[in-house]
């Protein structure tokens, strides 16, 4: 039944025009994804008006291509320059950049790309097979279940804090503190906004992430170059060894448990509205490290770390269309933009979408699978091009990245206030880098803070301050037990 419809979908999706636009979409997505701060979301909002005059299938397939490319492109600056432009690529930098520094930048990029495509494909297959039952399952997740998931996510700090757990916790709490700025989610009263209207929605995640993750790293590298006085002429890595940069299939597939685990984590996060790509990436990384027999290798240029992150963040892309197609609600902002595109093309997303527009939906499903093939091909060609960046002197690359950081913050909201914030966070990031406070933990605290506060307060209101709901809901109970288990394991390893 599904196979028949999917085959019919392929017939439509394989139209030459559709193929051309999918390829263009993936390529554009990758390029935009590489620019710091600009990811799928910015690319989609700029490109949606262009699709007005396209056929609905071509338009959506094009946008799906952009979304796929945009999610994986972010790995490139994370690996080559240690400058992840989005929090979703922050964990990629943890192992990707050390691997690149060891003279294997191309191998790191290949690992990232293949893992992305793998995670994405698994997620698409789950979407196609399970959209309807998945959605029914997703409805069982309410505030109590979200609270438990976020609680569990806080245990990531332990694995990502680097050398000093105490400093990691301090960094996370500082991020958490900054995330409380803005209007209170329950009674809408101002908190630490100083009547600055730009702060009513809180500090922009984009500005914070680009500042502490990308720009501060660039500043750091400039200082190092000045101190060592040699970086001026040399490319990033002189000794490019072709042999060392090969990625053998056996080596890649020997880590299949990590790939599959991350693909499922990403898909699970993707189908639950509101959790987001970045959390998927951190959860993928954290769980791979926890499951590993050699966790000490993580953070030193270990391929498994890249795989765990990239498979997880790309697996969100397909799955976040589950709530869109089954319930008509967006899984995240990228999906919200695609909902807008659906409406412009005469399709009202909602529970009746598959019934009313079955042909189109299966055409889109088929296009998603074809897009993955394009993603692999175009991404692979791209790696050769990005490889050249490693031969450009840093004195040229780094100033360009600084400009891109500023543009990347300005474009999505067109706000100079956010650019100022970003510069301030770059300063903070620089200080943290030089005092050993984990920036990743800081970002995680900032990311999880509002999720935890909102779900916890919703839970308390909904169940009249009865905390036992966290134990009586089976899904919540699982995550509470997981939290206790990982704390216990961490304490024992000490």
């Amino acid at each position: 039944m599904i196979i028949d419809q999917l085959l019919a979908g392929f017939a439509g999706a394989l139209a030459p025009l559709n193929l051309v636009f999918m390829a263009i979409g993936v390529a554009l997505g990758i390029v935009v994804g590489i620019l710091p701060g600009l990811g799928s979301v910015t690319a989609l909002s700029i490109l949606i008006p262009i699709t007005f005059y396209m056929d609905p299938l071509v338009a959506i397939a094009f946008l799906v291509g952009v979304n796929k490319g945009g999610t994986s492109g972010g790995a490139v600056p994370a690996i080559l320059l240690n400058a992840p432009g989005t929090p979703e690529a922050a964990a990629t930098a943890l192992d990707g950049h050390p691997m690149a520094k060891k003279g294997k930048p191309v191998k790191a990029m290949k690992t990232a790309l293949y893992s992305s495509v793998f995670g994405d494909t698994i997620s698409d297959i789950l979407l196609i097979l399970l959209a309807a039952p998945f959605a029914a399952f997703a409805l069982r997740f309410g505030p109590a279940e979200f609270t438990a998931i976020v609680l569990f996510s806080f245990t990531l700090i332990a694995g990502l804090s680097g050398h000093s757990l105490i400093k990691g916790i301090i960094a996370a709490f500082f991020g958490l503190f900054l995330s409380t700025i803005g209007l209170d989610p329950v009674d809408s009263s101002s908190r630490m906004t100083f009547d600055i209207v730009e702060l009513y929605d809180g500090i922009s995640l984009n500005a914070l992430a680009i500042g502490v993750l990308a720009l501060s790293s660039v500043i750091q590298q400039i200082f190092v170059m000045r101190r060592d006085g040699n970086g001026a002429q040399a490319g990033t890595w002189q000794n490019f060894d072709r042999e060392a940069n090969k990625l053998k299939p056996a080596e890649f597939w020997s880590r299949w448990p990590t790939l599959v685990r991350s693909a499922f984590i990403g898909s699970g996060v993707g189908m639950l509205p509101g959790l987001g790509v970045s959390l998927a990436a951190f959860l993928g990384y954290g769980s791979a490290k926890r499951a590993s027999k050699t966790p000490e290798k993580f953070g030193t240029g270990h391929g498994e770390g890249i795989m765990a992150t990239e498979a997880a963040n790309s697996a969100v892309v397909g799955a976040n269309l589950v709530p869109t197609i089954a319930l008509g609600i967006p899984g995240n902002i990228a999906a919200a933009l695609i909902i807008g595109a659906f409406m412009i093309h005469g399709v009202v997303p909602g529970p009746f979408m598959i019934e009313q527009h079955g042909e189109l939906i299966y055409g889109i499903f088929a296009s998603m699978l074809i897009c993955n093939a394009f993603h692999l091909l175009i991404g692979r060609v791209g790696i050769n091009i990005w490889g050249y960046i490693t031969r450009v002197p840093k004195t040229i690359v780094l100033p360009v990245v600084i400009v891109l950081c500023i543009v990347g913050v300005y474009v999505p909201t067109q706000s100079l206030f956010d650019v100022g914030l970003m510069l301030a966070f770059a300063g903070l990031g620089f200080v943290m880098r030089n005092t050993g406070f984990s920036i990743v933990c800081f970002v995680i605290g900032f990311l999880l803070g509002p999720m935890f506060e909102t779900s916890l307060r919703q839970t308390m209101l909904m169940y009249k301050s009865d905390f036992t709901i966290l134990l009586s809901s089976p899904i919540a109970l699982i995550f509470v037990l997981l939290t206790i288990f990982s704390l216990w394991r961490f304490a024992r390893r000490g």
Binding site: S45, L183, E198, Y200, D201, G328, G340, M343, T413, M462
Partner: protein, 320 residues
């Protein structure tokens, strides 16, 4: 000595003179004859992807044909529309910066938050549609009408309702106050969070800005928050019939105060004609199922006064 005392003054005077000269030289005088002579910006104060932004994108295309200049949609999200509204309130009143927003984004924040604009900071040019705001529930609940809900809520204190803003919460609390009902507001971040809560049975009733119309018989309307009953749910009463209050429902286009009459007139005429565009009409009438009806500045200004009065009533009643 003399020079020393006078020099700062000269400085200020000189600066002022320079500023005046610069303004005269650089500022484009707002002549209606050649308006518009450059691209027009349409600011949407919400995140991309929502129904307002989708409407604005299509509407901008139609407006472009009428004005003969490109219309660029810019999103400036934040503070429930307050960030975009502040930006437009402070921009030059030359007809090149328009704001497309829910009337509530211009009326509610000045009443409850510390923002740098008031409803009078704008010239209200026109309204192009109405959001379909409703109190909704699912068919599996024992109450099928608003009266049954009130009766049920009186017998079962502590029901949960999902709101999407301080404004929607205030209105539902107003109902509670009037009827002596105790129920709990669960804040949600918009339709995307409200829908799973309602369908998953986590809340009993919910405020909807129009998203329920996509769900057919999976959701039903108990009452309308608009001044009139909703076209799609003619059997559900409006709050106006019951309590004499209503929530502002208009999607409006405004320009900064001080925009010259002739330019505002040109924009109003273009807005009215653009509303008849086929693609826009299809999105509004068939996809969003909102009414495609234009309200001109004259009637809109009257409505604004009524809306402010109504909101003050609700604030006074639900305080504390």
């Amino acid at each position: 000595m003399n020079v020393k005392v006078r020099s700062p003054r000269f400085g200020i005077a000189g600066l002022a003179a320079f500023a005046v000269a610069a303004t005269v030289a650089l500022g484009t005088p707002a002549y209606a004859d050649n308006y518009p002579s450059k691209p027009v910006t349409l600011v949407v104060p919400y995140k991309a992807g929502g129904s307002t932004e989708t409407m604005a994108r299509v509407y901008a295309k139609a407006l472009e044909k009428e004005l003969g200049q490109p219309v660029i949609v810019k999103t400036r999200p934040g503070g429930g529309g307050a960030v975009g509204a502040t930006v437009v309130a402070k921009s030059a009143p030359d007809g090149y910066t328009l704001l497309f927003a829910a009337a509530t984004a211009l009326l509610w924040p000045p009443l409850t938050l510390n923002v740098e604009y008031t409803p009078d900071s704008f010239r209200w040019v026109g309204s192009i549609t109405e959001y379909q705001q409703a109190l909704i529930s699912t068919p599996d609940k024992p109450y099928k009408t608003f009266d049954q809900l009130i009766a049920h809520a009186k017998k079962n204190p502590g029901m949960n309702f999902a709101d999407q803003s301080a404004l929607s919460r205030a209105f539902i609390n107003y109902i509670g106050k009037k009827e002596g009902i105790k129920w709990t507001a669960i804040p949600t971040k918009g339709g995307g969070e409200m829908v799973p809560f309602l369908l998953g049975g986590k809340v009993d009733v919910a405020w909807s800005g129009g998203v329920h119309q996509k769900f057919g018989d999976k959701m039903h309307v108990l009452a309308s928050f608009n001044a009139t009953r909703l076209a799609q749910s003619p059997d559900a009463p409006s709050l106006k019939e019951i309590y004499g209050i209503s929530m502002p429902s208009y999607a409006v286009i405004v320009v900064p105060k001080g925009t010259p009459d002739d330019i505002a007139g040109k924009i109003e005429a273009a807005l009215q004609r653009a509303g008849k565009d086929k693609a826009f009409d299809d999105i509004v009438s068939n996809k969003l199922k909102f009414p495609n009806q234009f309200i001109g500045s004259e009637k809109l200004n009257q409505l604004v006064k009524e809306m402010i009065e109504g909101l003050n009533t609700v604030i006074a009643a639900t305080k504390g």
